[in-house]
Symmetry: none
Subunit: 136 residues, 4 copies
């Protein structure tokens, strides 16, 4: 299963709403379970260079099914997989990419947000995922 | 000036509405006047390979301020600029990318559509541009 | 839905069997519905340069849901979409890539074969798809 | 000499069997002595982003004739070759890639596995190599 138009619309609206609430214009990307782009928004005033990062956060989370920041464990000094973040054409290993799962726990896509402080990016991505109200 | 969130939302909604009306799921991309991606939607069932094409149609139209099909004149046999379409990392020179101008005629962005026959792509892109109701 | 291990094994075995029957060692690639590589075999003696072509044939067929040779219509002289084959990082528009659909007609993946004459490539790809015995 | 179809089939079957035994769906790649892809399988449910890693582990092991984790010595702080892992378009220097040698000790290819914890990847790659029963 892959994320649907209706789910994408809900998640995108929730992300934009949260970004507006904290007054940080964001880049927001949604990928499907095949790690292909499904939807993207660069809000007025969002950092231009963060568009690529938002897309890559969502792609990374879709490719591995983990929050992007969780993948840092693999590459940090002493981690098990030095250079892991240079695979797949370059991955993002800081917060802001979160996988999206259906009610059965299956990966259906991911959201990636960039444009603010990392904690703000995470907060907006979290709002997008929470809007889908799955109860695994 | 660059296309705004409100204009993007109107253009995207019009494109989706037109695609739904003709029952052809489309990839729809909107670029700004800096030839950078502003918004993207791959509708459920839209051809996966047409996502890249939709984005490149919008990028091409934003880069040159012409409908994409108009650029074919440069590269057709006997045209003035053979290989023009291989510049800028590869351009699209068939229909489906249309520049967006403000009331003063200034380029503010472009829309690109792909997923159907070329005439259908053009029709949906046209609907997006028309929704903005500028009167140049 | 995406092609499964069991379907991949059946299709790959059928392709290898057909290639062996005509005594042309082949490169055989199977992609899923997200246009990601699922399985690949380069048979002993298969042309090394045809590995990339087999993969791209399967990728192209998965991206667009058409036999690769059908896409040539878009780019041939007088076709509607000049340069279409340079999108998506470069596509293959000659025979040997065939989409795979389930019993309901939904695209679940594609097979790509390269290593012989184009007609031989097509024959082996066809054998792979036929082995799945869907009756749409 | 290069790894043969029969050896590839045995190694791939052993890897799939071991991955099934530990219930971790894996990406498994086999490269030949020319560091070119010979066979690949992404098992149902295997992490999509680990496909690239499995292929690069096998490629790295085939390029240098060492287990991938052994190459970390070159790039670790104080190692002799900082940046070594950025050569060849990017190498993998953690476990899961193992060279394959014939009875005379000649390099004939390599296997790369990714999709689980690094120790699991190594275990599955080891099973593939062991299946070939060479006695160097």
């Amino acid at each position: 299963m892959s994320i649907t138009d209706a789910q994408v619309a809900a998640a995108m609206a929730a992300a934009i709403s949260e970004a507006t609430a904290i007054a940080v214009p964001m880049n927001i990307a949604i990928y499907d379970d095949g790690a292909n782009l499904k939807a993207f928004t660069r809000m007025d005033g969002a950092l231009l260079g963060s568009a690529d990062i938002a897309m890559n956060k969502a792609r990374t989370a879709a490719l591995f099914g983990f929050n992007t920041e969780a993948l840092y464990d693999f590459v940090k000094p002493g981690g098990t997989s030095p250079g892991f973040d240079r695979t797949n054409g370059g991955l993002i290993v800081f917060a802001g990419g979160i996988p999206i799962r259906d009610a059965a726990g299956e990966l259906i896509g991911a959201v990636g947000v960039s444009g603010g402080a990392v904690a703000q990016d995470y907060q907006v991505a979290e709002a997008a995922v929470a809007s889908l109200q799955f109860q695994p």
